[in-house]
Subunit: 342 residues, 2 copies
DNA sequence: CTGAAAGCGCTTACAG
DNA sequence: CTGAAAGCGCTTACAG
């Protein structure tokens, strides 16, 4: 643990001022190219790393973004965190994580902790039904295009439409939609889209797993067999996690997927390609979403006058939604046209 | 975006020095309890938040820990990140994330980026086969007890033993172990443990999915049916992700789980309780691991003289391993004793 | 092209 | 019990 080299040290070895060293390193200010190069070389040699605290204090910027998630244990989190981390580090920013732990107070606490740590801006994936406003620093939100204050997100409605249209195309006329929560705007958008994509002539049933969850403590049966018996030929879920539950319940009941029933998911979670049959699902380009949201936030930090804000104070991005992509795998089967059951 | 209140402002409103205000807020130094209280009240009122940059520059500490992961998209990541974030924020530290993106250079880059951001200490879950040494700041590693430099981790060998013993107890005498990589120390520990737990009399076969992965591009079949035909009655995997692949392949082939074949996983990933049949698996108490590793790291930061280091410079923790817990669900079935196949 | 100086907002000995 | 002052390590106008 050698003492960290400082600017002064570098300045002394060259008999120049710290200002000159600083300029050499940052490339700003007028300085002879030759000297600048020599200083940079030497800096690398001795492993000089500028003190982030010194710089932050002077410039008023920490170079760090806060990322607040509703619940880190959410299976979608890896995709999101990876996208944000990547985009942020490309822009030269670090990412400090905050976990709302599934509660609204947890969200406020997480935001305050990050604020205290001096983040330059905040990226929030808000908990359902919560609104974050005026934190005194640039704020961007990823949620759903239907959410007020949304900065950018996948176009969940569009994803629903595509999935619905795909199922309709395969010939499905009686579809069961299995959602999780009736209070999720994201899921509501997907449901709307699915119905639209399936078309007027399709018969659509809808259940929410949150309604069933408490029936018998542990994960209970969704009672899918009876839906199939009544003529359902496809189960469209709003999450791969639900799709997995549906798929295994059907297979366990001896109902072959996709021969007897098609199953589709959402989000392209890690296992959707690793199971048999592979899961047909909708994928959001998270890398793209991360790039858009981080760039909008960074712009608002670095050039506040140019950045647009919504009424609630969140940063605006363009585009504010990113199309989802249909990934066709075996769980939805090949095109086949069922007879319409009466 | 009102200007942030500063210490000076607070000092002026009370006609005291900034030193007094600082003491009142931190509780250090001698100051009349009454004045201290009034200052604290006022500080809360005006929403005073001390500048982290100012404090960091003066104290030489940022109050931030770096967390470097081999690959954020790993499904185990949510559990880990949540545990670390929780433990760190309990200790008053923030967590800056770094993603190695699956490569050794990525790991070095991530570490350097975090170092440049002034983290007080670093927490690394190292990529297979890499060693991180002497970063000039306290360093803790989570890997496997068998890894040199390991600070703390789940006792993977112990987990294997428990799982093996459980399967043996159920009567399984011919078991297929499905691992992913032959170069993973964690998996090697689990395999060792499994063999030990299954006992001498058990016939054990072992395959690695990485060997098969390239056979035909996409996820291919593991050819489980033939193993079952040869007498395998249980498939023990080293990850719930693999277990899922096994389970769906078996079900798809008409081999009922657990009636015909038992399946077990590892890690208790989010879906293991949501599928049918529920997946029997081994769970590590990540919250406990996070607590231990963060406390060891923080101790090393705050009281360097008291902290123990390994030869490679990593912080030591006690205990250095945490027992895993067996979660019995339907996929392994009830006790049943198979006839020993010749 | 280079340097001297100010100052970002804190905390911590030290003096009173 | 309180205050004056130094200084953490940078960057940025400004002067030369």
């Amino acid at each position: 643990m050698k003492p960290k080299p400082k600017l002064t040290l570098l300045a002394e070895t060259f008999n120049v001022s710290v200002a000159t060293v600083s300029n050499a390193l940052s490339g700003k200010g007028r300085i002879s190219p030759d000297l600048a190069q020599r200083i940079r070389d030497r800096a690398r040699e001795i492993g000089y790393v500028p003190s982030s605290a010194g710089r932050a204090l002077r410039t008023g910027r920490s170079g760090v973004l806060g990322l607040v998630l509703p619940d880190i244990s959410n299976p979608l989190f890896p995709q999101i965190a990876q996208a944000i981390e990547q985009a942020a580090s490309t822009c030269g920013y670090g990412v400090l994580i905050g976990d709302a732990r599934g509660s609204t107070e947890g969200q406020s606490e997480a935001i305050n902790r990050l604020l205290e740590r001096g983040v330059d801006g905040m990226l929030v994936i808000p908990r359902r039904g919560t609104r974050v406003t005026d934190i005194g620093r640039p704020l961007a939100m990823i949620d759903s295009p239907s959410t007020p204050g949304n900065t950018v997100s996948a176009d969940h409605h569009d994803g629903g439409v595509k999935m619905g249209a795909y199922l309709a195309e395969l010939g499905h006329r009686h579809v069961l939609i299995v959602a999780m929560s009736s209070r999720s705007i994201v899921q509501a958008d997907r449901i709307e889209g699915l119905k639209q994509g399936l078309g007027e002539q399709a018969r659509v049933e809808l259940i929410f797993t949150e309604d069933l969850a408490e029936q018998d403590g542990a994960v209970g049966s969704l009672g899918l067999a009876s839906y199939v018996a009544r003529g359902v030929t496809a189960v469209a879920t709003l999450s791969d996690l639900t799709a997995l539950r549906v798929l295994t319940e059907l297979q366990g009941a001896g109902l072959s997927v996709p021969d007897r029933v098609s199953v589709t998911g959402f989000d392209d979670l890690i296992w959707s390609s690793a199971i048999t049959p592979g899961l047909t699902t909708m994928r959001a380009d998270m890398a793209e979403i991360g790039r858009i949201v981080v760039e909008a936030l960074v712009k608002s930090i670095e050039r506040p006058e140019q950045a647009e804000r919504t009424q609630s104070g969140t940063v605006k991005a363009s585009p504010d939604r990113v199309a989802m992509e249909l990934l066709i795998r075996a769980s939805s089967g090949k095109a086949r046209h069922f007879e319409v059951t009466s």
